[in-house]
Symmetry: C2
Subunit: 250 residues, 2 copies
């Protein structure tokens, strides 16, 4: 009985120390203390150390990651929409995907110090499966902040504490990813022939919509669309790179 | 001078009638009158009839569509997260994509009566390019409601006025899309041989992650992942269907 009590108190003490560190970290990262600490505990709990409860339900940060991903997308969509009132949706989509992608979120997660509060199985985990550990946890954190404080607070947190301090948007806008030259480079390196062809032009009122197709070593690959030949080719190149697994799908 | 004035007044009158109809429609669909009517005018303005302003900037509903798409995703993520507290993120992602896809949004757009308020070029537009006219406008409307009334109102609008009345979520959850049998069906019809193979098993702590690969007529197609062989095969079948253009990419 005494032992059980001691064990219970130890557990409590241990948790309490972890919690204290978590509270401090959240206060630093988010700018406010957690209201509902449970959410932040969950956000930092990787599935590799999650316990399965009586119902067979495994509690980890994966559900919060799903939620946070959507909230992050919405907050950044809103931010870019207002920041660039005269840019079209293609531009906004492109810039958002340059900000929110696995690699950049992972880097951001590390930079804000999530490594000190994530709980995961350090022994049984291969490097591969953790290449998005910080990014995933960052998304889960966004989910927790959203549930804890609501959309408006969470949006400010995302913009003021994550985007503005860590992303040089102007630089991101100016850096032009050239998918076509990337694909040509790859083809040359791998000894593949490569061809770009405009296979269809649709006249739509005052506009023309072009369809481009890429052929790699006689094999038809990605098709792309755009209101100029150049844009259609870029899109086709991008889709081909995705098909070939050379860049990630959005 | 008199003519110019008359023309001006006619323009005003015409606009005013269109606006009146728009206000009534928005009140019916959203449940409240617009605060900023401009947003709703823009949301219902298809690019086929959009004017280019002095700066060369074309004003249509496409930017609002981009914003609305993100807000819709966030609102439904939140709704499903809370509705299914013990379901994993794979389930939540799947159900959301069954609710929010081009086809279902398009049907929904028609059902709530967007056809009566969308302004588009009825002469110069092929059917093809308008297969998502209503769905796109619906997203733009969500964007307008969000900017006009804020996230919380917009979320309620989405859930109470769009999702609950028009989607049978229980039915959506229970309908199991079987990609594997869909793919096998297709292969038989098209006289292709088809093979499913587990090509990799990764042991991750207490879990195993399977990688399945589909081969169609000796040609390697989609690879899929899952925590069971069945799930990996379903995923590989789905990706193959996407590669073959038989189902849409998410």
């Amino acid at each position: 009985m005494y032992r059980a009590a001691k064990r219970f108190l130890n557990t409590f003490k241990r948790k309490s120390n972890t919690d204290k560190r978590l509270i401090t970290a959240i206060e630093t990262i988010v700018g406010s203390k957690p209201l509902n600490l449970y959410l932040y505990r969950l956000a930092t709990l990787h599935s590799s150390v999650a316990n399965v409860d009586n119902r067979g339900y495994k509690e980890s940060n994966e559900r919060l990651e799903y939620l946070g991903d959507a909230i992050l997308g919405a907050a950044i969509a809103d931010y870019l929409f207002k920041k660039y009132p005269f840019k079209d949706e293609g531009f906004l989509t492109e810039i958002r995907s340059r900000i929110v992608n696995r690699e950049s979120l992972n880097t951001l997660g590390k930079r804000i110090g999530l490594d000190s509060i994530i709980q995961y199985d350090k022994n049984h985990s291969s490097k591969l499966s953790h290449k998005s550990l910080y990014g995933d946890t960052l998304e889960a954190l966004v989910g927790a902040v959203y549930l804890d404080r609501g959309f408006s607070f969470c949006k400010s947190f995302i913009i003021e504490k994550l985007i503005i301090p860590y992303f040089d948007i102007q630089n991101i806008v100016e850096s032009d990813v050239n998918f076509k030259s990337k694909l040509i480079e790859w083809a040359q390196k791998e000894n593949h022939s490569i061809e770009f062809e405009i296979i269809h032009i649709k006249t739509e009122g005052r506009h023309k919509e072009f369809t481009a197709e890429v052929t790699v070593s006689e094999e038809k690959k990605g098709q792309g669309y755009g209101f100029s030949k150049k844009k259609a080719e870029q899109d086709a190149a991008k889709k081909t790179l995705q098909l070939l697994g050379l860049i990630e799908k959005e």
